[in-house]
Amino acid sequence: MIRLSIFTQIHEWLYSLMPASSAHILELVLIAAAYLGIFAILGLLLVWLERRVAGFFQLRLGPNRVGPIGLFQTIADALKLVSKELTGTVKADHFLYGAAPYFIITTALMAMALIPFSQEIHAFDINIGVFFIASVSSVGVVGIFLAGWASNNKYSLIGGMRTGIQMISYELSIGMVIVTMTTLAGTLQISELIEMQRNGWFIIQGHFPAILAFMIFMIAGTAESNRVPFDLVEAESELGAGFHTEYSGMNFAYFFLAEFVNLFIISSIAVVLFFGGWLAPFGITDGLHIPFIGLFWFGLKVTAIIFIFMWFRWTFPRFRIDQLLTLEWKYLLPINMVNIVVMALMVWLGLIIKF
């Protein structure tokens, strides 16, 4: 593999230009700006993808007027939202009301830093990587909760309460799936996790328990990203718009974008944990020196996972709140616990498949 020299070049050029400390700070700022850009573009692209996919599911075409195959539709929508007035309720708790969207974006961005787009494009590779993502993305619930509470609207409040219940329950499942998979891997660092999958993706290495873990992850992940069948937080037909009922314009767009970025993050974790991150399947492109090939594979896998999430969304009806809890505490949690033990036993007995 070749190293992408462009990042090193920028790094060296910056350090040659100014003292090391300021260059370091500037570098951080640049990276942050780049991630903000990725955040926006990714969000818009995913919204477009969702609408397009929904169109095909529903015997329609989806947005196809603005730009080639409707690609600029969401940009036009975003422009509209930017130009809109920010309304709010008089009786809202204004500070929290204003702060809530930023909570959500900040946490989404923090989790984004951990995403390994490819071997080189990986901003923050710490040794507790997966754990960090899991904990940071659970802070996002605070934003939703604040939005629901601060709006001073009963529908928002019910939405917010539902989030609390839902997130606490399903964080547990996500965490236990991560535990299951790290039992197999023996590390939490994302780059190492991916490197270890050179001998076969974890879903193959861990076969039965890993597949089970993947299924649980998909269910819990849907719940984490508040999508159908777990979209009780927004529950259009019950609560109007749920926690963001009182938000308008760009504040609403933040929620909207963050929702899709969260979807991307969840899918990325799935890809890292089960499908070998940016690794090519069976190493078919390992010998070839194609730039950005890791990004390509990573993107492809994430898109596939996102598509499955979308498939769920456009097929299933919504759960009721008590059924949601029943599913987690009565089904997913016990299965998950057994699954950890099975995985541990397998690792201990060396029953994993490696090429």
Binding site: A54, A235, S237, T315, I321, Q323
Partner: protein, 372 residues
């Protein structure tokens, strides 16, 4: 719960305004909910947001003019509503309509029922959260609407029935189109089942929800598919047959569980029965007049008249108190949705907010029908 929380924490009942602008209330119905957390303690309703006082307008209009007003009651069974008024006047004046008219009216009524139930199925899915069902239902509904548009001239408020017959003769493409529709329905209705009926989430959302016993159903005046879900045999097409219903063979769809899922199954079965009825009639539409001449100004003899028909929502009744003038002295539309909605509190007490949405869907309300 209260014991567990003890004295320090107290739960408080709160009040939630569901509607008049709310996605689940299918228009401008306003529900006043008393909630404890998510649990519903009491449901009350406030109506009249789309009240047009059609009953008062009828006291001003002639009988011929009244017919088109009934389109606007339950707009999803516009044809059947028209039929009720026309049958009432024909009955009062002893006009015997030809077989052709009867058969055309029956086919049209069943197509209306199919289109209404198709819409209901789509919206039902949407209310429960499966957004895709809506477009699948509209695929079939579109075919029916095309049939209506070609023969009647409009898609929703068809105004096809006139006193003494129907407005136009059947279009030459009618039989062809209906047969294509039946073929498609037979292919697609099983798909409905696979997508929603069998779905475990969907079943769990409906089973045991909104239970109402047979006795309560009768006492609360439930009618139509809602009552048939509780095991009440109340199909007007069976008990007081009108038009050509006495000569077709069909089964009254009754389920005895009394919950939302039973009501759902009733409507799905009714769609199959409608297909069955149309199949029997479509090949043998008798020749004859499609419209009998009537007097320019129709006057009913003094007296009380009542005509009941089975719309897609249930037992629709038109009651006329006539004093012999050109317009009715008092005209009352007994709307099926109004009676069905009255039992909502009974059904929804103690359940959750999400269940109210499910129950509202399965009693299939149309707000203009309730408000009149």
């Amino acid at each position: 719960m209260e014991d567990f929380l003890g004295e320090n924490i107290k739960t408080q009942e709160y009040f939630l305004n569901m509607g008049p602008q709310h996605p689940a209330t299918h228009g401008v119905l306003r529900l006043l909910l008393k909630l404890d957390g998510e649990i519903v303690h009491n449901v009350d309703m406030d109506l009249g947001y789309i009240h047009r006082s059609i009953e008062k307008m009828c006291e001003r209009d002639t009988y011929k003019q009244i017919v088109h007003l009934t389109d606007r009651l339950d707009y999803l069974s516009a044809h059947i509503n028209n039929e009720a008024v026309c049958l009432l006047v024909e009955d009062a004046l002893n006009i015997e309509v030809s077989d052709r008219i009867k058969v055309i009216r029956t086919i049209m009524s069943e197509l209306t029922r199919l289109s209404s139930h198709a819409l209901w199925w789509g919206v039902m899915g949407m209310d429960i959260g499966a957004l895709t069902t809506f477009m699948y239902a509209f695929r079939e509904r579109e075919l029916i609407n095309d049939i209506f548009e070609e023969t009647c001239g409009a898609r929703l408020t068809m105004n096809y029935n006139v006193i003494g017959g129907v407005r136009y003769d059947l279009h030459e493409n009618f039989v062809k189109r209906v047969k294509a529709l039946l073929a498609q329905l037979k292919q697609k209705l099983p798909e409905y089942d696979k997508l929603l009926t069998g779905n475990v989430i969907f079943r769990k959302r409906l089973e045991g929800i909104g239970y109402i016993s047979k006795e309560d159903a009768i006492a609360y005046g439930l009618n139509g598919p809602t009552a048939r879900g509780s095991g009440v045999s109340c199909d007007i097409r069976k008990i007081h047959p009108y038009s050509a219903y006495d000569r077709v063979d069909f089964e009254e769809s009754i389920f005895t569980e009394g919950d939302s899922y039973a009501r759902y199954k009733v409507r799905i079965k009714e769609m199959w029965q409608s297909v069955h009825i149309i199949e029997q009639l479509i090949d043998k539409i008798p020749e004859g007049e499609f419209r009998h001449k009537t007097k320019a100004l129709i006057k009913l003899p003094p007296g009380d008249y009542l005509q009941r028909v089975e719309t897609a929502r249930g037992d629709f009744g038109v009651y006329v108190h006539s004093d012999g003038k050109k317009s009715p002295y008092r005209m009352k539309f007994r709307s099926p949705g109004f009676a069905n909605l009255a039992a909502l509190n009974k059904m929804a007490k103690g359940l959750k907010i999400a269940d109210i949405v499910a129950i509202l869907s399965t009693i299939d309300i149309v707000v203009p029908d309730i408000d009149r």
